[in-house]
C-alpha cells in the first residue's frame, strides 16, 4: 500500500535537514523547490520572448507584399502596355513604342557623390547638387531621366553604378497624329488613357486588368469603325474650310446610316495626341461630340419629318408664309421671304421659318417633345467616347419655343447627335446609336429601333434631294455629279451677350448619299464663318455646303459608292 508515494518519504527528511535550522519550521518546501518553481518561471519567460521574436519574423514574412513598394509600383505603372488601335482597314492609329527610362533607388545607392559624378559623364544635367541630394536621401525610388536613347542606356549601364537602373517604358505613338486625335484620344505619361477611345478601353476593361496586375504585353489590337482615309479627307477639308472662311472652328462627322458606325469624325482646331498639353486648350476641344450648338435650319429636317410622320401634315399640304408668324409677342420672319403660300417641299427647299413653324404648331408642343425624345435629341448620345455633351433643352416648352425649335433655335445639341438623328430620318426610320467600333448591319438591326415610318423616310429623302437639285434650293452648292447627294443647310445666328447676333453664325450642312439608297451621312459644321470675299453672304450654302460637296466628292469613291450618271433623279423630280 501507498507504494506510489513511497520514494518521496525518505528524501524529505534530509532535504529539510540540509536547508538549515531556520527553515525547518517553515515548510516542507526547501529552497531547492522555490528555485525550481522560479526556474520554470524563467524558462516560461524565455519561451515567451523567443516566441515573440519568431512571431515577429512571421509577421515580417506576411507583410511582404504590401511593404515591398516603390520600384515595383513604378514598374507596374510604366509597363502598362496597351493594345494597338487600328482603323477599319487595319491601319495603325495608335501603338506602343518601347524605350528605356533611368531611375535610382537612393536607399541602395552606396556613394551618392560618386554616383552623381559618374551620371554626369553621360547626362551633364544630372551632375547637380539637387540630384546629389536626392540620391543621398532615403527614398525608395525616383526617376532620373525618362526616355533615354539606347546609346545613353548602354553608357550608363557600363558605369555599373549600384542603385541605378532602367525600366522599359511604353510610350504611346499615334502615327496619324492630329488626324484622328479626337477619336483615339490620348494617354498620360504613365500610358493610362485619359481621352477618347483610349480612356474608353481603360474604363471598360484595361484599367481593371492593370490594377489587378494581370495586364500582359500582348493584347489583341482594337479595331475601330474609323476609316483613316475618310478621316484624312475630313481633316484636310474642314481645316481648309476653317481657313478659307476664317471660321473660329469646324467639325465633321461621317456615319454609316445603316450600321451607325462613325466612319470619320474630326474637329478643328485640333491637337497632337503626342503632346497632350495641347488638348488642355479649350479652343482645341472636340466640337463634333463634346460641344452643343443651336443647329439652325438643319433642324428643319427633323421638324418636317415630325410633321409628315405625325400624319397631321401631308407632303401635298400648303402653309401661309405671306407674312411673319406672330406668336407670344414675337414675330418670326423668313430669311429669303417668298411672301406667299408655300407647299411643304417649298417650305423645305426655301428653308422657310414661318412655314416650318406652322407645321410644328400643327403637331403641337407635346408631339414635338415626344418626337425629339424618340429620335434621341433630348438625351446624351449613347456611344463609347467619353467626350459626349448633353443637349441643352428649353426650360419651358411654350408655343413660341415649339416654333423656334422647329428651325433649330432654343435647343442645343451636339453635331454627333444631329448626325445620329439625321441618319434615322434617312435610313428608313431606324434610330441606331452611333458606334466607334465595327458593327454589321445585322447587329445594327438588333439594337436599332423604329422612330419613323418607312414612308416618311422616303419622303424626306425626296425633299433632301430636291433641296440640292431644285432651282433656288439651299443645298445646290453641295451637288457632286453622280453621287446623288441629298442635303440641308443650316445657318443659325449665334447668341452673343444674351441676344441673337446678326453677324455671328453657326453654319451646318447635313448631307446623305446616294439618296436613292442612303449609305452615308455627312455633317459639316462651321463656327462663325466669314464671307469668303467681302460682299458675299456667309450663309451655310456659301461655305458648309461646298465643303460638304468637296468631302463627298473625295470620300464616296473610297467608300465604294458607285457614281451613276443616268437619269435616276428625274423620276424623283417628276413625282412632284
Amino acid at each position: 500500500m501507498n507504494f506510489r508515494f513511497g520514494p518521496f518519504r525518505k528524501p524529505a527528511e534530509p532535504m529539510a535537514a540540509a536547508t538549515g535550522p531556520e527553515f525547518r519550521a517553515s515548510a516542507r518546501r526547501g529552497a531547492g523547490d522555490t528555485m525550481r518553481g522560479r526556474l520554470i518561471l524563467a524558462s516560461a519567460c524565455f519561451v515567451l520572448v523567443y516566441g515573440t521574436i519568431i512571431g515577429r519574423l512571421v509577421q515580417m514574412g506576411v507583410s511582404l507584399p504590401q511593404e515591398s513598394v516603390t520600384l515595383g509600383n513604378a514598374q507596374a505603372a510604366v509597363s502598362a502596355a496597351r493594345p494597338d488601335i487600328l482603323d477599319r482597314n487595319g491601319e495603325i492609329l495608335a501603338t506602343d513604342i518601347k524605350f528605356a527610362s533611368l531611375y535610382a533607388e537612393p536607399r541602395r545607392v552606396v556613394d551618392p557623390d560618386e554616383a552623381t559624378e559618374q551620371l554626369a559623364t553621360v547626362f551633364p544635367d544630372l551632375g547637380t547638387d539637387a540630384v546629389r541630394q536626392r540620391l543621398a536621401s532615403k527614398q525608395g525610388f525616383l526617376w532620373l531621366k525618362r526616355e533615354i536613347t539606347p546609346a545613353q542606356q548602354a553608357a550608363v549601364h557600363a558605369l555599373g553604378i549600384p542603385g541605378i537602373g532602367f525600366l522599359t517604358e511604353n510610350k504611346r505613338f499615334y502615327p496619324s497624329g492630329r488626324t484622328v486625335a479626337f477619336v483615339t484620344g490620348h494617354v498620360n505619361i504613365d500610358n493610362q488613357g485619359i481621352a477618347g477611345v483610349e480612356k474608353y478601353i481603360d474604363d471598360q476593361w484595361l484599367g481593371d486588368l492593370q490594377r489587378a496586375g494581370m495586364a500582359s504585353n500582348n493584347f489583341e489590337p482594337i479595331k475601330l469603325s474609323i476609316d483613316l482615309r475618310v478621316q484624312q479627307v475630313l481633316h484636310d477639308e474642314i481645316t481648309a474650310a476653317m481657313q478659307r472662311y476664317t471660321a473660329k472652328a469646324s467639325a465633321a462627322v461621317v456615319m454609316n446610316v445603316k450600321t451607325g458606325e462613325v466612319v470619320g469624325m474630326t474637329s478643328a482646331p485640333d491637337y497632337d495626341p503626342m503632346n497632350p498639353a495641347e488638348a488642355l486648350d479649350p479652343n482645341n476641344m472636340n466640337r463634333a461630340s463634346a460641344a452643343v450648338y443651336e443647329m439652325g435650319s438643319t433642324f428643319k429636317v427633323f421638324a418636317t419629318a415630325m410633321a409628315l410622320d405625325s400624319g397631321k401634315v401631308s407632303i401635298t399640304d400648303s402653309f401661309d408664309a405671306t407674312r411673319g408668324l406672330t406668336i407670344g409677342g414675337f414675330t418670326i420672319n423668313d430669311f429669303h421671304g417668298k411672301h406667299r403660300v408655300l407647299s411643304v417641299p417649298e417650305i423645305f427647299i426655301y428653308s422657310s421659318n414661318v412655314g416650318t413653324g406652322r407645321e410644328a404648331l400643327k403637331v403641337g408642343s407635346q408631339g414635338q417633345q415626344e418626337f425629339l425624345k424618340r429620335i434621341g435629341l433630348m438625351d446624351k448620345v449613347p456611344t463609347e467616347l467619353p467626350e459626349i455633351a448633353r443637349p441643352i433643352l428649353p426650360k419651358r416648352w411654350s408655343d413660341l419655343v415649339t416654333v423656334t425649335v422647329s428651325f433649330g433655335h432654343g435647343i442645343s445639341v451636339s453635331p454627333l447627335a444631329t448626325a445620329m438623328a439625321a441618319s434615322a430620318v434617312m435610313n428608313g426610320g431606324i434610330l441606331i446609336p452611333p458606334t466607334f467600333f465595327p458593327r454589321s448591319e445585322e447587329e445594327a438591326r438588333l439594337i436599332g429601333k423604329r422612330v419613323l415610318k418607312q414612308s416618311t423616310s422616303e419622303q424626306m429623302r425626296y425633299l433632301m434631294r430636291l433641296n440640292v437639285l431644285a432651282p433656288g434650293g439651299s443645298g445646290k452648292s453641295a451637288d457632286i455629279p453622280g453621287y446623288r447627294i441629298g442635303g440641308k443647310t443650316g445657318t443659325a445666328e449665334k447668341v452673343e451677350n444674351g441676344r441673337y447676333s446678326s453677324n455671328k453664325r453657326f453654319n451646318a450642312f447635313v448631307a446623305t448619299f446616294p439618296i436613292d439608297d442612303p449609305q452615308y451621312l455627312l455633317l459639316v459644321v462651321l463656327d462663325e464663318p466669314n464671307p469668303e470675299r467681302p460682299g458675299l453672304p456667309a450663309t451655310a450654302g456659301m461655305n458648309a455646303g461646298p465643303t460638304a460637296g468637296n468631302i463627298v466628292g473625295r470620300i464616296a469613291p473610297m467608300l465604294n459608292v458607285e457614281p451613276r450618271f443616268d437619269d435616276v433623279d428625274v423620276p424623283l423630280m417628276a413625282a412632284y
Binding site: F8, M15, V49, Y50, I53, R108
Partner: protein, 385 residues
C-alpha cells in the same frame, strides 16, 4: 575512439558532457563564420580595408581559440570553475581599470585594451566570471546563513557596474544587473525583495531616461518612430522584408551596405535579408534550445552553486541573444548588444566560448548530481487497510 572501459580524462569528459549543447555551440561558431560572409565584406569595403574578406578571415581565425576555449574549459570540474572565475574576476577588474587609464577612446567610450598586440574587451570576459561568482556567493549564503553571501554579491555587482558605467557601457551594465537580479530572484528571494529591486530597476531606467540624453532619445524614437532618426531600425526592418521567407541569396543583400554595425549589432537583419526569415527562425530556435536546455540542467542540479552559476551563465547568453534579436526586429529600443557567436568580434567570440565552456563544465554529469525533490504539500498518507 573512447571506451567506457578505461577511465581517462577524455573518456570521462566524452561520456559526461552534454553533447547536444556542444553540437549547438559548435554549429553556432561555424555557422557564424559562414554567416559572416554575408555581413562582413560590405563593412570591410565601407571602412576601406583592401581585403574584403578581412573580417571573415579574422572570424575564422578567432574560431580556433574559441573552440579550444569552449572544449578546454568544459574539462574543468565545478570547483575548478569557481576558482578560475575568481582568478579571472581579479584579472578582469585589473584590466578594466587599466582600460580606463590607458585604453583608447573609440566612439566616446574606453572599452578596449591591447595585450600582447591583441585588442581585448575585458568587459566581455568579466560577464561569465561575474555570473559564476554571484551564483557561488548566493548559494553559499543560503547554505551557511552566517556568511553574508547576498551582501558580497551586491558588492561585486557594485564594483563591476561601476567599472562598466565608467567606460561607459550601459548595455553591458544592464546585462550584468539583469543577471544579478535574475539570480537573486531564482535563488529564492522573497517577494518583498523582488518588489524592492523591481522598484530600484524602474528607478534606474527612469533616471537613465531623464538624465542620460541618448537613452532618452532612443526610447522616444522607439515609442514614436516619426519623432526622430530611426535609420538603423527602419533599415533593419526593410532588410527583413526585402529578404522574405527564403532571402535574397548570399551576397545579394543591399541593406548591409548602408546599415552601420551590420557585422555586429545588426548582423541578424543582414542574415534576414540574405538567407531569409526561415533561417532567422532556425537561429532563434537554436538559441531557445540552448537556453531551455541550460535551465533544465539547472533544475535537475542538486548543488546550489552549480545550479545558480549555470542559471547565471545561461541567462546572460539568453538575454543577450533576445535583446539583440528584439532590437533588430524593432521590438525594443535600440541597444548595442552582440548576438552571441554570430556577431563579428574576437573578444566577444572567445568570451562567449569561455562562458559556454563553463556552462558545459557545470552541466557535465556528476555522481552526486541527482536530486530528490520533495513533493509540494506532501503530507503523510492516511492509512488505508
Amino acid at each position: 575512439m573512447v571506451s567506457r572501459a578505461e577511465r581517462n580524462p577524455v573518456a570521462d569528459w566524452w561520456f559526461t558532457v552534454d553533447k547536444l549543447l556542444l553540437i549547438a555551440f559548435l554549429a553556432l561558431i561555424f555557422g557564424g563564420i559562414v554567416l559572416s560572409l554575408a555581413a562582413s565584406p560590405a563593412v570591410a569595403e565601407r571602412i576601406g580595408i583592401a581585403d574584403s574578406y578581412y573580417f571573415v578571415k579574422r572570424q575564422a581565425l578567432f574560431a580556433i581559440p574559441a573552440v579550444i576555449t569552449l572544449i578546454g574549459v568544459s574539462f574543468l570540474n565545478p570547483k575548478q570553475i569557481r576558482r578560475a572565475a575568481l582568478a579571472g574576476f581579479v584579472v578582469c577588474v585589473i584590466l578594466l581599470i587599466l582600460t580606463l587609464l590607458v585604453g583608447p577612446e573609440v566612439k566616446g567610450s574606453r572599452r578596449w585594451i591591447t595585450i600582447l598586440g591583441m585588442s581585448v574587451q575585458p568587459s566581455e570576459f568579466m560577464k561569465p566570471m561575474f555570473a559564476v561568482l554571484v551564483g557561488f556567493l548566493l548559494a553559499e549564503g543560503q547554505k551557511r546563513p552566517d556568511l553574508p553571501g547576498r551582501s558580497f554579491s551586491l558588492l561585486l555587482l557594485g564594483i563591476v557596474a561601476a567599472l562598466f558605467v565608467a567606460q561607459p557601457d550601459f548595455g553591458q551594465t544592464m546585462l550584468i544587473c539583469l543577471t544579478w537580479a535574475g539570480l537573486f530572484f531564482i535563488s529564492g528571494m522573497s517577494w518583498m525583495w523582488i518588489v524592492v529591486f523591481a522598484g530600484a530597476g524602474a528607478t534606474g531606467i527612469l533616471s537613465a531616461y531623464t538624465l542620460v540624453p541618448h537613452v532618452r532619445s532612443r526610447i522616444e524614437r522607439f515609442m514614436n518612430p516619426e519623432a526622430g532618426d530611426t535609420f538603423q531600425v527602419q533599415t533593419a526592418q526593410e532588410a527583413f522584408i526585402n529578404g522574405g521567407w527564403w532571402g535574397q541569396g548570399p551576397g545579394e543583400g543591399t541593406f548591409k551596405r548602408i546599415l552601420p554595425d551590420s557585422h555586429t549589432d545588426f548582423v541578424f537583419a543582414v542574415l534576414g535579408e540574405e538567407f531569409g526569415l526561415i533561417l532567422c527562425m532556425c537561429l532563434a530556435l537554436v538559441f531557445a534550445f540552448v537556453v531551455l536546455r541550460g535551465i533544465s540542467h539547472a533544475m535537475k542540479e542538486n548543488d546550489g552553486y552549480v545550479r545558480l552559476a549555470t542559471t547565471g551563465l545561461i541567462m546572460q547568453f539568453g538575454l543577450q541573444s533576445c535583446i539583440n534579436m528584439a532590437v533588430n526586429l524593432h521590438l525594443m529600443p535600440a541597444k548595442g548588444m552582440t548576438l552571441p557567436f554570430i556577431s563579428y568580434g574576437g573578444s566577444s567570440l572567445v568570451a562567449v566560448a569561455l562562458s559556454m565552456g563553463m556552462l558545459l563544465a557545470l552541466t557535465r554529469k556528476r555522481p552526486d548530481q541527482t536530486r530528490f525533490v520533495a513533493p509540494i504539500e506532501f503530507s503523510p498518507l492516511p492509512s488505508r487497510g
